[in-house]
Symmetry: C2
Subunit: 320 residues, 2 copies
Amino acid sequence: MRILILGGGGFLGQKLGKTLADSGSLRGEAITQIGMADVVSPAAIKARVPCKSYVVDIADRAAVDKIIENGWDVVFHLAAIVSAHAEEDFVAGMRTNFFGTFNILEACRAELNMPIVVYASSVAAFSTAVPQPVEDWTATVPQTSYGTQKAVGELLLNDYSRREFIDGRGARLPTVVVRPGKPNKAASSFFSSIIREPLQGEPALCPVELTQEVWLASPRSTVENLVRCAELSQDALADNRVISLPGLTVTVGEMLDALQAQGGDEARAFVDHDLDEKIQGIVRGWPSKLVTTRADALGMIRDGSFAEIVKQFVEDELGR
Amino acid sequence: MRILILGGGGFLGQKLGKTLADSGSLRGEAITQIGMADVVSPAAIKARVPCKSYVVDIADRAAVDKIIENGWDVVFHLAAIVSAHAEEDFVAGMRTNFFGTFNILEACRAELNMPIVVYASSVAAFSTAVPQPVEDWTATVPQTSYGTQKAVGELLLNDYSRREFIDGRGARLPTVVVRPGKPNKAASSFFSSIIREPLQGEPALCPVELTQEVWLASPRSTVENLVRCAELSQDALADNRVISLPGLTVTVGEMLDALQAQGGDEARAFVDHDLDEKIQGIVRGWPSKLVTTRADALGMIRDGSFAEIVKQFVEDELGR
């Protein structure tokens, strides 16, 4: 079982790599190699199995062909230009998210082993332009270029799977909170900052209203669900290879309450408010309530509460 | 008002060109030029306004740039590789339907006048893999490559419009029946053949069961609705530029009854039955019942009955 993680340098890619390496097997087979690929060489992960880093820009077709032709059994595709970045720079988003995904699928099509492709889509493929709550058969009418590019990838994943070029599984990820590390160009970045920074004695800015809701999931449940997507039998997904992962609907106010419960008044006081119309506009366009009947039936897991997610962050990232 | 019709050599493109030329105006402005473009030079249409034919393969980015940079006010994009053809030849479908549409949108993005783009999508963007009937907010989970490529075009049209690169309007066309001329590689081609050929004393083969339903519309209502899409105000479409056009749900048996009513027992006897699993499979995957609330509210028209459609064919195409 040889596994490639595209976007392996990102925090989800790193966690996924470690989880797979620790487990040592996938789909009942021993993992013999893990490839970690990203635009900048991914950090090496501690693994009992051989693990190799690759530098690849997925927008570069030849580079993608070269890495895919190594013959992987499972390819996790987590590589993307994030939401606010793709909104700012249309061409960059199209290059990486639209053509990058196309390049990966085309390279897989050229392989003879019909690799499993686990594709990270996003709740941003949906929007509040359609009746809420979003259900399994709700139209993807995204209101960002990022969401558009993700939704295009979903369509291609389905068609390439139907034609048996690949064995695709797509997962629409909720906003993943609490992300470790530094803020990034995702419009959702602040959802993590307002918890992560205060718990480390640093200030954070909240650019949206306290009543703003978000559809979120923890890094732990997200990684676990990506693995479960790879584990699914092909038949389980039938005519639609893409599912919306389970999440929690939480308001920013509730998030700050959980921060206060964990870190006290002191932590709460580190959060300042400064409304950013651009961020608020993007975030308001994402649905916050999803009914995930298919994912639930397929055994995907859901976090218990946001308070639990904050405790996990303290445990996993702050080592307390 | 300068209008370009991509796919102007097809039967819908020709009818649309004639309709616009006869009317002489669009959106309250006099039409000063009509361009008709296709892979093979479109037949000249009789018009009171200057009309020019262009040869362009929309998969050729440079050729598309060259024609679009003539500065059109309205671009109708009807060019496509049809359903069974795109199913047979994956690469041809991706070239023309996926990249071709991308090329057109990119060329329009480079223009400064934010052209109106009327995009012909298809009921094939939907499928029977989702709960029926198909409503305005039902997910596009196509079960053909053609439908996939059309649905990708819908997503791009929306995003290019939201970003104000173009002023897009997408229309999901029902199966258009009765088409004049020769059969083509569309899986739906026989829906026209079983009416057209017998009414001209020629045999026709029906490859599906009599109980098979189809979502159809006449050439007349389809052309009228494409014009109405161009006439709509931008605001009317709001956050979703794509609508499903009204149609009729008719079984093949009912179609043959209408044939008999028009052409007598003699015409009906020209239809032979020979089940084709491939065609039946594709057609069965298309939804036959759509609720078109948005299109109805936007003033799109619906045919009265299939019997009327057959009468129109006799009038328009056989000159009786």
